[in-house]
Symmetry: C2
Subunit: 246 residues, 2 copies
């Protein structure tokens, strides 16, 4: 099929279509999670593995800042570092995720060690960091655009988890409250950047591919969790074992 140059709004529509097809809210593991079908061990496995993703986000964003050409653009992206690492007074997203992990019963030091995460988690997350470090800047920016879709999944996740797990409190899920305002601000900037800078067929296709790649990063993390902790339940050697955690 010959690709044609999209208008900026056509590009946005194509990006949103990718989200509608590939975002990880469609993954069976997410459905189990928010509908209350997981036991504590499975929820802990999710929180533990997802911590590694959270912990590497500032690295990803710093690599992106390193490649931005102006102080103005760098300042814009720097907000993400503050959101995740905190400012030394108010805590950032990483600290809030640790609170979530503790809230579902994990040991903080064990989570921070990342010793128990799945190889799939590590490979997917590292692939994302390397993508942002190594690929053209426009693609690096575009790979952040899964945030366009995150308010939906967060709303599903928070309401579903609170309704279906009586051992999970709103306080434990505080991480997601901040993301509900941060993600739309961030994704609005990144989307405008891509719409402005993707002015050739090749650049637009690269932007769309970057978002597909990132959807795969998120999707494969849930694949790993499903395989290890739902069915067939192949927990890799060294990975977190809920059976030993009871």
């Amino acid at each position: 099929m010959t690709q044609t140059l999209l208008t900026p709004d056509g590009l946005e529509a194509a990006l949103r279509a990718i989200g509608a097809e590939r975002y990880h809210n469609l993954h069976p593991f997410h459905r189990l999670l928010h509908s209350g079908k997981l036991d504590r061990g499975q929820v802990r496995a999710w929180a533990l593995n997802r911590y590694y993703y959270q912990s590497r986000i500032p690295s990803k964003d710093a690599y992106l800042i390193a490649r931005l050409p102006t102080a103005e653009l760098r300042r814009e992206w720097r907000r993400r570092l503050v959101d995740h690492d905190g400012d030394g007074v108010s805590s950032g997203g990483i600290e809030r995720w640790l609170k979530l992990a503790e809230g579902v019963g994990l040991d903080r030091a064990y989570v921070e060690s990342t010793d128990g995460i799945l190889p799939e988690t590590r490979f997917a997350v590292d692939a994302y960091v390397h993508f942002v470090r190594d690929r053209p800047l426009l693609e690096a920016v575009a790979s952040s655009l899964t945030e366009l879709f995150s308010p939906t999944i967060i709303a599903e996740r928070v309401s579903g988890m609170l309704a279906n797990y009586d051992w999970i409190t709103p306080d434990t899920l505080a991480y997601f409250n901040a993301r509900l305002t941060q993600a739309p601000t961030d994704s609005a900037f990144a989307l405008a950047y891509c719409k402005e800078h993707a002015r050739t067929v090749e650049a637009q296709q690269a932007v769309l591919d970057a978002l597909r790649f990132k959807c795969g990063v998120l999707w494969s993390q849930l694949d790993g969790l499903y395989l290890a902790y739902v069915e067939p339940g192949f927990i890799p050697p060294g990975a977190y074992d809920p059976g030993a955690d009871r």
Copy 2:
């Protein structure tokens, strides 16, 4: 010569000895600059080339942040991004350097384009950014330690330039005022980090080599300026030409 393990204070002394021998306050170009021996074109060439160094510092620091393992360390280093890029309200070091460049008579857009800088400047500065991106983290941190010596050169430079060039105002040199407080804070942290983490002979030698490397980055920038604009006056094709600027 067999190298021995230094105490932390011994390492600091060895670092300071490198500065005493290799820091660019000893370069003939610096002496000409602060003693009033340069004409306007030569001062402009200095400001123009040094802008490229300033403009790449946040990239260097973002690469370093990307490699730091904890939110606490990243927050510490993030202050440097704020110092150089500003916060959108108060201006940062890059903006202040542009003011300096305008104050000595350069066109802002020409400076920002970096079109007129010397190849030596570009290679030296890019080598620094790549060093921080690619070398072990400890060496990347150590390469910032030239800031241990910068208060001295700044004091010489500011007092010398104000005394000897009646066309340069304190306002033009405002960049340096901020650095007099920022650099000691930054270098104290980096020095403590190196003293704590360089615990083998090999690591200590790598730290010392990183500082030697960085001294070379600064020194070679002044070599380039001397060759092109003092003697023998070989201005490379495409580089800023004071003769065409009068």
